[in-house]
Structures are given as structure tokens and as C-alpha cells.
Amino acid sequence: MALNGTVKDISLQHQRREQGLMLALALPALLLILLLIVLPVGWLAWQSIYHDGFTLENYRRIVNEAIYWRSFALTFEISLLVTVLALLLGYPIAYAASAAPKGWSIVILALVVLPFWTSVLVRAYAWLALLQRTGVINHLLQDLGIIGEPLALVHNTFGTVVATLHILLPFMVLPLYATMQTIPRDLLQAGASLGGSPSHTFWRIFLPLSLPGVLAGSTLVFVLSLGFYITPELLGGGRTIMVSMLVSRNVELYNQWGAASAVGVVLLLGVATIFLVVSRFIPLDRVLGQK
């Protein structure tokens, strides 16, 4: 600094140094993220449109070739199904955890969080063992005489949905519970004292107030299942080709980087759009904080 001496300059200089220090502290982490995720993803995006000149061939293929758009449609359907089921199963659980006496509430939350901290791979393995032709469920049903032949419960879309739902359900319950906890119970009592029946106070007061949690949980579950890889790969039996498998197959089997990149870019744009839209309603770090 050429000028100094006045108090203002010193404080300005101090402020600059402070800002420089803060940037320096954030820099190593930022650099790592830039090098290992921003750069690679940017590179993929570039590759999807540039191959000896600009081309939209990779994107045209997604629209024109059935194997691509069917996979996108299937991924969308499965994610939607998983999200709706997670909401139907998760809402009552979150409600029970928020309404039950403290001891029960802890038990319920513990049972939700335990699977959350079990490896996804371990859970996929457990479902494989439960659902396969010679698995626990088929054995049980046959021993009880309910079925004669084993049911095809796995290596198809059914197995994929059951296992994906199992893995993503806690991501629905936790944000729902966090929101429900902030709903003042006095409001419900006020509703009841004004003559509202329990179901009336639930539908008119509790449910609307819990909607931010519904939005946060549904977003998280939907977005995560859009990009799911392990369960469809292990439990889908090669028939349930979700988008993430399309990406990996194009790279691993066919060495088609352009095609893989284009599929990845479309998936990423979809996810980014959802997050952008949702962040208009609830802060994004609240959605991500659940993970």
C-alpha cells in the first residue's frame, strides 16, 4: 500500500489481510473439489459435444435410440415410484416419532437411523439373500404352502424398487421428522378445542405445516434414486437398466466416452434443475444437511 498512516487505511489494510487469510484457509479444500469434481464434470460436458469438431450426435442418440430414452423413462418411473412409496411409508413413521412419548420416539428414530449407517452394499447383499429363488422369503412362503414354485422377486424391477426404497427411506423420514418437531402442539389442541375432530385438525393444520419436510424429503429421495447405481446393478438382473448403468456400460463395455458423457450431462442437468426449483422454496443446505 502506498498510502498509509491514517486510521482508515490501517483498518482497510487489516480488513484486506483478514479477507486474504479467510480465502487462503478455504483454498485447499476448494482446490481439491475444483480439481476432482468441477474439472472432471466440465471435461465430460465438453466431450459430449466435441469430437473432432462440434457435434450433437451424442444427444441425438439419446432421443432417437430406444435403449437410451427407455432407460431415462424407466429411471424416472422407478424414482417417482420410490419417492411416492417412501412418502407413504415414511410419513406415518415420522409422525409416530414426533408424537410418541420421548422413550418410544428415540427407539423409532434409532431403528430408522441404524440402516442409514449400514453400507449400501451390505444392504443390497441382504436383499439379494432375502429375495433370491432359494432365499429366505421364497423358502418361508413354500414351507407355509402359500406358493408352490418360487417367485421371481429379484433380478427384475421389483427387487430394484424394494432395495432402493429400503436404502432411501431414512432420507425421507429424517427431514419429515425435523419439520414435524417444529410444529407447535398447541395449534392442534387449539384446533381440537374449537371443535375440530382429530382427522380434521390433522388434514387442516398438521399436514399443511409439515409440507416443507415433505418437499425436502421427496426431493432428496427422488434425486438420489435418479442416480442410483448399486441396487439396479446388483438386483436388477441386467434387465433394469437405469441411467447410471447406461453411463457405466458405455465407458466400461463399449469405451463410448461421448455417449456416456452426454447421458451424464442430461442426468446432471435434471438433478440441477430440481435443486434450483426446490431451492426457491426451502434453503438447499437444509435439504442436504440430512445426508
Binding site: 479477507q19 484457509l25 485447499p28 473439489i33 441404524l114 440402516p115 453400507s119 439373500a129 429400503h166
Partner: protein, 261 residues
């Protein structure tokens, strides 16, 4: 209190069923790992530790376990200081660009992991980091950073920054005042963030599928490959051990958090 109305019984029954759906698949791994039979039968014909023995005697599984533990420990050792430094900067600085930096640091949670995996594989292939320990550790540090950042930013939110200023006005330098005043108060969230990064590194599968190879394959990659082929009860034994390790770590976090509260 009105107790056993039919609606209430139905509701409780539904909740119990959903909780069973959540918990049974995890519990079922334990008897599977202890069964003497090659195939799953219920109840197991007799108890045996043969699958644990098989795991411990297999040099390939042992090597994979060493790789996983090394990667996870190095990940924590690197991601925790980087994440704490960044979280400190994010919560103390009023620079507008910090908001953008904060969001950028959360990207690994937002970008679908398959895209990250393919992207890293592509970059590593160019610079020769495929199938190396360095490559595996760097990728896991990147994936673990958001957990540390989220946890520590939340911890710093309830910390009063003027305390550190007081320490500095009494003559401590910045670094010392951080270690003496700030760190002890956010210790719980730093430890929680570190443990989450550790668990994330132990669990990480998809990036490892693409970038790991040769002698540097973590447990999850070997398990994934084994699961594609056949159901080997050795995996039940490994799964039980992995689950036990994560649960113990989570217990450590939650008991510390309760103490802190």
C-alpha cells in the same frame, strides 16, 4: 387418553411393519454369517465361525481390508483439517464469494456419484493415477469433505466469535487462539464430521469400481465383484463386521453429542 381405537391399532401395526422392513434385512446378515451351511436355511443347521475364518485366512480379502482401512484413516487425516479450515473461513468471513465457495464444497453430495466416478476416472487416466493409493485417497478426501464442512459450519454457528477476539486482544496469536478457545468448543462437531468422512470412505464403492485396481482395491470393490458372481457367505461375515464398526462409530458420535448438549 383414548387408547385402543381401531384406527390407532391399525396405525401402530403399520408403523411396526415399516420398521421391521427397515431393520430385518440388516439383522438377517448376522445369522447368515454364523451359519455352517453354504446356503441360507432357516434356522441355520448349526453355528460356525467358518466364514469369519475364511475371511481372515484369505490374503486377497486381508489385502483389501488393509487398503480400506488405510484409505479411510488417511481420508480423515486430510479431510478433517481441510474441512475445518474451510468451515472456519465460511462462517467467519463476510466476503460474498464465500457463499459460492460454500456451495461448491457441497457439490460432491449433489452431483450423482456415477458422474463423479466416470469424470475422476477420465482425469486419472490422463495423469496416471488410476489403480494408485494416492488416487484412491484423494478421491475419498474430496467425497468426505462436505460431511466435515456441514458438521463444522453447524458447530461454529452456535459459537460466539467474539471469544476468539478477546483471546487475541489478550495477546494470543490467531492460530493459538483458535486452538485454545475455538477448537475445544466445536470439538464435537469436528469429531462428528471426521467420523462421517471415515464411514463415507469405508462405504465408498462406485468411484473405487472405476479408479481402483491391482493391489489397491478396497473391500467394497472386491465385495461388489463377488456379489455379481454368486452369494458367498464370506460376504455376510464381512458385512457383519463392517456394520458393527459403523454402529460403534455412530454410538461414539451420538454419546459425545449428548454430552455436548
Amino acid at each position: 387418553m383414548k387408547t385402543f381405537s381401531p384406527g390407532r391399532i391399525l396405525f401402530v401395526a403399520f408403523c411396526v411393519l415399516v420398521l421391521l422392513y427397515l431393520i430385518l434385512p440388516i439383522l438377517i446378515i448376522v445369522p447368515m454369517s454364523l451359519s455352517s451351511a453354504r446356503f441360507l436355511t432357516f434356522p441355520p443347521p448349526s453355528l460356525s465361525l467358518r466364514w469369519y475364518q475364511g475371511y481372515l485366512d484369505d490374503p486377497a480379502w486381508m489385502q483389501a481390508t488393509r487398503v480400506t482401512l488405510t484409505v479411510a484413516l488417511l481420508t480423515v487425516a486430510i479431510a478433517t483439517p481441510l474441512g475445518v479450515a474451510a468451515a472456519y473461513a465460511i462462517s467467519q468471513s463476510k466476503l460474498r464469494i464465500m457463499r459460492a465457495i460454500h456451495i461448491t464444497l457441497l457439490l460432491p453430495l449433489v452431483v450423482p456419484i456415477i458422474i463423479t466416478a466416470v469424470g475422476i476416472f477420465f482425469v486419472y487416466a490422463k495423469i496416471g493415477l488410476v489403480a494408485t493409493m494416492t488416487g484412491l485417497v484423494l478421491a475419498n478426501v474430496m467425497l468426505g469433505l462436505p460431511y466435515v464442512v456441514i458438521s463444522v459450519v453447524a458447530g461454529l454457528r452456535s459459537f460466539d466469535a467474539t471469544q476468539e477476539m478477546v483471546a487475541r486482544s489478550l495477546g494470543m496469536n490467531r492460530l493459538r487462539s483458535f486452538f485454545a478457545v475455538t477448537l475445544p468448543q466445536i470439538k464435537t462437531s469436528v469429531i462428528a464430521g471426521g467420523i462421517f468422512a471415515f464411514i463415507s470412505a469405508i462405504d465408498e464403492t462406485i468411484v473405487a469400481l472405476f479408479i481402483s485396481g491391482g493391489q489397491y482395491q478396497p473391500l467394497t470393490k472386491r465385495m461388489f465383484t463377488a456379489l455379481r458372481d454368486e452369494i458367498d457367505p464370506t460376504i455376510a461375515a464381512i458385512s457383519t463386521l463392517m456394520t458393527a464398526v459403523s454402529f460403534m462409530l455412530v454410538l461414539v458420535v451420538s454419546s459425545r453429542q449428548k454430552k455436548g448438549a
